[in-house]
């Protein structure tokens, strides 16, 4: 898989859309009562303008490059991208699981799945590391730093 000029152009269009959304959202703020002469909407609008202008500049450069054929795509392995996406999915699952299952169970699952997704480590080492490190983190945050971690269904701990 490659990072081409087309994907770079898509990213710049996304910047423009995001900045335009910020600009649009800030318009009603001009009606807020404030003692400064410019109000709360001007600064975000200037920043949105900078992003839009620079993204247009980038698009122009990309367009000229595609005409001269100087596109030098960067390559990456699809397997690694998939692995990275799985890591993100597991991280999303963690957010969903932690309130219900509690810190300890959710973190053991998180570390176990993260190691399993990346591969190259045996099951026994994986179980040992995920249980051991989750416990170390629990003791560190809960007992040393006195952070209240969610217990979930293990409320008796």
């Amino acid at each position: 898989m490659t990072i081409t000029n087309k994907s770079k152009a898509v990213l710049n269009i996304l910047w423009i859309l995001a900045a335009a959304a910020f600009y649009w959202t800030s318009i009603p703020y001009s009606e807020a009562r404030t003692f400064d002469p410019i109000g709360p909407h001007v600064f975000p609008q200037i920043m949105s303008g900078v992003i839009i202008l620079c993204s247009l500049g980038n698009l122009l450069v990309i367009y000229r490059h595609s005409k001269t054929g100087t596109d030098t795509p960067e390559t990456f392995h699809p397997g690694d991208a998939l692995r990275m996406l799985l890591v993100l999915v597991v991280s999303g699952l963690y957010i969903w699981l932690m309130p219900a299952a509690g810190y300890l169970v959710a973190t053991i699952f998180l570390i176990f799945l993260l190691i399993a997704v990346q591969g190259e480590v045996g099951l026994r080492v994986n179980i040992l590391v995920s249980c051991g490190f989750a416990l170390v983190l629990y003791l560190l945050f809960s007992k040393v730093l006195h952070i209240l971690l969610p217990h979930g269904f293990l409320e008796f701990i």
Binding site: Y29, I38, P44, Y94, T107, L110, G119, F133, L137, F141
Partner: protein, 497 residues
Amino acid sequence: MEFLQNIALGSSVVFTFKGLASIIAGVVAGTIGGAIPGINATMTMAILLPFTWGMDPTAAILMYVGIYCGGQYGGSIPSVLIGTPGTPSSAATVMDGYPLHLQGKTGLALGMSLYASVFGGIVSSVALMIFAIPLAKVALAFGPPEYFALALLGLTLVASLSTDVFKGLIAAALGLLLATIGLDPFAGIVRFGFGSEHLIEGFEIIPFYMGIFALSQVLYIIFKKIRREVVEYRITSKYPSTLDFIRCLPSMLMGSAIGMFVGAMPGAGASIACWLGYNEAKRWSRHPEEFGKGALEGVAAPEATNNAVTGGAMVPLLSLGIPGSGSTAVMLGVLIIHGLRPGPMLFVTNPEIPYSIFVSLFVSNVIMIFVALMLIKLLIKVVNIPETIMNACILAIIFVGAYSVNNSMFDIFTVLLFGVLGLIMKIYDYPITATALGFVLGYLVETNFRRSLTLSKGDWSVFMTNPISMVIIILSILSVAYAVYCNHFRRKRGAAE
């Protein structure tokens, strides 16, 4: 007299059990972080942010000074032992450090990198005291237009020094835009809150930094499948002698001066400075032909340079409250979450903070000698932990650490959001440091911008009628214009080739 009294005050904070323990913990953590390829001092700082939550501000900042120093040195260990720099700032050390290791002179290379790092760090701590205090005194007279202009210059320099000025400006403006989310400081309305109670105060600094610096880097390591070699360590030669040290002294002095100067410039950083130090040492050497083949000066110069950057980078942070690099931006974040704002007023209201930083920068470098000599075998064992396990454990620390800030799942979501944003920016070569600087400076930039216009009753020429702000704004415009010109010239030459 007042200076000595303040140094004594700073020393009284540093030379306590808590102060020294914080520095030692920081140096050890920084050295480990720096020694692991793919992880740098900034990422180590971001990962450890939640641990500072329960610490008092001085202990937290002392630990961060230790991490900063240790991180710069730690990068040299894999540079010498496996020929892969642990951090970008140790890239130049590979040139002669690795050939020395292959020649069986590992101890000589590692020893010289340690001594040069300590030398550069100590020189920069002295220079920090010399430059930061007078600059802070000058900055006391600054008003809102000057502060706005200074923060703008810092951001435009970081943007201009990135590979593409448009990308740099987008990254910086994005950071400033993200900083506007939450309660408006003048009107009291919530901007871009989208009805979420979590966004009333805007995004928290800790999850933001953990996402953009730490999570994005772990995801990038997985995405790019960055693999580390196993580091083998055995002393195969003696450590450098006094004669070796004296022979390398001119290179170290030159490196220290370059590191101090480049470090004080926003956006330049240790990764550029180390190559400048290396090239100058080669240019002035009596035996330039030995460089690249195992010259001891080729290890001493870049290592003195990258550690001298620490003191230089702290000059604008402490005296003006404006960070110029990712690491100092995180340090600014540490001070902000503890209710402190670096800048000239800090020298007046909390002199124990800047003066303890001066003393701790000196002490961290001295402690680094003992940490490196005593713990090197242990450090290498940690460095050799397989990357799959290391990545999973770092991710767990990041998520639990983010949760611990407010006991809120929203902070983990924030980490994920900015982690993905940082990853996309890394893949497409956008400077995330500019976004981080924009985010942390956003409040300062906007409030001083609006205060200036309030003072001038809405007259926008206030920035150009004030001589200091006018000069600084012209410098900002010139830095962007020069970068645009250079980019255009580079593209034209690339197309011609």
